[in-house]
Symmetry: C2
């Protein structure tokens, strides 16, 4: 066991004095999540420069019995990457590890360090004429290590998959400091268990991802962006089926927005936004269809689908963006929903998924149950219908005070999660578990699955060095420090 000062001195000998932060001002950006829901206390924040330093930091902390909290851009939504309030944990920030190791357009792959932002990966791919398809609101800050650890989704999952589907290989520092080199770009490698899969969505509980390789794709050359007014979620699901039939896997995004979500955005003159289709319709769908071939244009096929949807009464109105600027305006409405809801006061948030065909049933059952439980509750429903994933959020009824609304959060969460689970859905589609959803996770996950996860954790991190108490409850407290 190493005592506190000598551990910090040993860490400083590895990463340099300037990269072991302990002063409150220095560590402030690292000890609370960006929304401020999980303010914590860190023993120190360590900023290694390379994989060898990460390995040494892990060895030192493991030997001292000091738990580590790996951290990327700190943009997570579930309290998975900030320290608890014990003051025992050391935050390992990967922010200095931003090397682009290789980008290869012929191999359609990119290899880069965990501290690179998603935006940096997009830009490096674009510079060689390729697409890095992960795209999410926080992409300017969210890091490669973070999106792997949470298996982030975002706006183009329908076509390109989640982060997991994009990952080809990983480099990971293990709980004993050894480095797993699974940093391959191979499309096919059937040599035993696919270990990298365990670290993806593990939220830093099994190892620290230090570098990764991803698939790249062809850049889109035409994108058709549409905004459609619909009577309800079933019409949205039907329209998705029609569009899939017409243009196949070219649908890049297919987003649903309920009236309350739209009204909240339009209530605030953010960037002078306006409804593309007047007003009064209860639901909208925003979609992108994109085509990578310069020689083929899917616009006519999309227009035919919309004409048929109008004729069949599925849609009441529809607009295609006439320019890239107008497409951005359509998307801006979607992207400002969380901010607009924040301006309305406190919100309760859910990130559920169900099989696509069950989306209408989910919305109907959850709306009914919540309105019964809390008359006047405002339901802000939007999300990635093409993935079966809804951000099904709530604002308080007019006249209710904030504290009363917040006090009923557990009850509201239970209702929403129970309905999703009853439809074979998930309580966390793309945000993860962290600390926020651990109780619900433990209640809704099958006991057999939980048992296997505990066994994996024990096999990979028997002493609980990495992110203890996140995702799974702590097996036993580290007692050496």
């Amino acid at each position: 066991m190493t005592d506190h000062p000598s551990l910090l001195a040993a860490l400083a000998a590895v990463v340099g004095d300037a990269h072991v932060l302990t002063a409150p001002d220095d560590i402030a950006p690292y000890v609370a999540d960006w929304r401020g829901h999980y303010p914590g206390i860190a023993r120190a924040v360590v900023r290694p420069a390379n994989t060898a330093q990460v390995s040494e930091v892990v060895r030192l902390c493991a030997a001292a019995g000091v738990p580590l909290v790996p951290q990327g851009g700190n943009t997570g939504l579930v309290g998975g990457s900030t320290p608890d309030d014990s003051g025992r944990e050391v935050v390992v920030s990967l922010g200095r590890m931003t090397a682009l190791r290789r980008v290869d357009p012929l191999d359609n792959s990119i290899m880069l360090e965990a501290g690179c932002t998603v935006l940096a990966a997009q830009e490096a791919a674009r510079a060689c004429g390729k697409l890095f398809p992960l795209s999410l609101a926080s992409e300017g800050s969210a890091t490669i290590g973070g999106v792997l650890s949470t298996n982030a989704g975002g706006e183009q999952v329908l076509r390109y998959g989640n982060t997991r589907e994009l990952a080809l290989g990983l480099e990971v520092v293990l709980a004993d400091g050894r480095v797993l080199d699974a940093l391959t770009t191979l499309r096919k490698d059937n040599t035993g268990y696919d270990l990298k899969q365990l670290f993806i969505s593990a939220e830093g509980t099994l190892g620290i991802v230090t570098a990764a390789a991803f698939k790249l794709y062809a850049l889109p050359r035409h994108t058709v962006t549409g905004w459609v007014a619909l009577s309800g979620p079933q019409a949205a699901v039907d329209l998705l089926a029609m569009l899939t039939d017409a243009v196949g896997e070219r649908i890049t995004a297919f987003e649903l927005l309920g009236r309350e979500a739209l009204d909240q955005v339009l209530a605030h003159p953010l960037d002078g936004m306006r409804d593309p289709l007047g007003s009064g319709y209860p639901w909208a769908v925003l979609f992108d269809v994109s085509e990578t071939s310069a020689r083929l244009d899917p616009s006519e096929a999309v227009e035919e689908v919309l004409a048929e949807a109008l004729e069949r009464g599925l849609a009441s109105d529809a607009a295609l963006a006439a320019s890239g600027r107008q497409a951005q305006e359509f998307w801006s409405l979607r992207e400002h929903v969380p901010e607009a809801q924040r301006l309305q006061g406190p919100s309760l948030k859910h990130d559920i998924s169900v099989p696509i065909a069950s989306i209408p049933a989910f919305i109907e059952a959850a709306d009914t149950a919540l309105r019964r439980a809390m008359p006047g509750i405002r339901i802000v429903c939007f999300g990635h219908v093409g993935d079966g994933n809804l951000h099904y959020n709530q604002s308080k009824p007019a006249g209710m005070d904030d504290a009363s609304f917040r006090a009923r959060a557990p009850e509201i969460h239970d209702i929403v999660h129970g309905i999703a689970a009853g439809l074979h859905g998930s309580i966390s589609a793309e945000h993860g578990i962290g600390r926020l959803k651990q109780d619900a996770f433990m209640r809704h996950k099958a006991p057999v699955a939980l048992d296997l996860m505990v066994r994996v954790k024990a096999a990979f991190d028997p002493d609980g060095v990495f992110n203890p108490g996140r995702v799974l409850p702590p097996a036993r407290p580290l007692s050496r420090s």
Copy 2:
């Protein structure tokens, strides 16, 4: 511990007398692989009818200390699904579990039992207007459980991915008989570790897959099939890049064939096949470009690419299939390569992958090294260039006797695997490890990765009930029986 007769009686009580096979004639189809390389001896072959029976069978055998060998269509190439020669192992054949549990075109998913053939899955999908994209030579016999356990690849990986990429959920019987229900069709579910990934490519060493859910895709409406004569592998890689630029992810297959492979096929008048382009060119590429939209036709884009390739001297000649029948003739040449090679006498086979850009370097280095080691050796090189995966096989030199050729197999394997590994490649791209490649696997896999795999095996199957000695060496022999 249960002795031999009472174990069989207990198994018969679970699955029925008719489904515990012990007579030599009855068990013959189950105890050797289809190529006859791994003749084994089974204590019995048990054929459960459903998941509950599989669970009971596992409990009984585990309690008796009797190892189990899960088996699907028995079409594997690495000796992973047949019993060893100890006479101790019980084969669990999933062949009776062929229920189609659900097919849902709106959800783009199919859910079926492990004993269904790949062909049955394709047909069930097609019946509702969808594509189950896994396609391989053995699809009429290979089962869902088998292709999951080996993470099978096949002919459309370039576009749709390996079996792993198609799998949404699994139902698995664990080593203690419990059932892991991870049989979801959700596209997004970030609730802890993705356990299903461990069972995919585990070759039956961690659990018995009893059912699975897969993604479905839109059916292609146009397919353009081309045959191109090329000067060498670099021209093939360059042509792939041009075609990718022109038609993006529509390339469904992109296969390379060397002259020796073609000559062997054309030497035997199988189905009256003939070279689509005369003769004399050293390499050929066979590709499919397929389009799911009825409104868009990629033919012209493909023709323009071929014209440019001819103009630039990458290709010396090219033909597009004028009909579905002609496309089948092109494909028939490719598909008969293994059979034609068998008719030439003994063959040494490899299933390597390297990053796509390294394919020319691999072929040059391996050709040179093999010709030096064995002058006159005939190199039958073909495979999935678009995936970086080559079946790089050898026939004996003219005049060498079979036994002398076979005796040098270890040396030839070492040369080929060493060159693949040196180029950051894999010694098993799509066939798995089984018993055939275990030595090479242990030599070429990083020790850290091997250690983690051993930990996973110990965590999931501590007593070594499932397929001991396949993939990983046996941790310790089961000693109770």
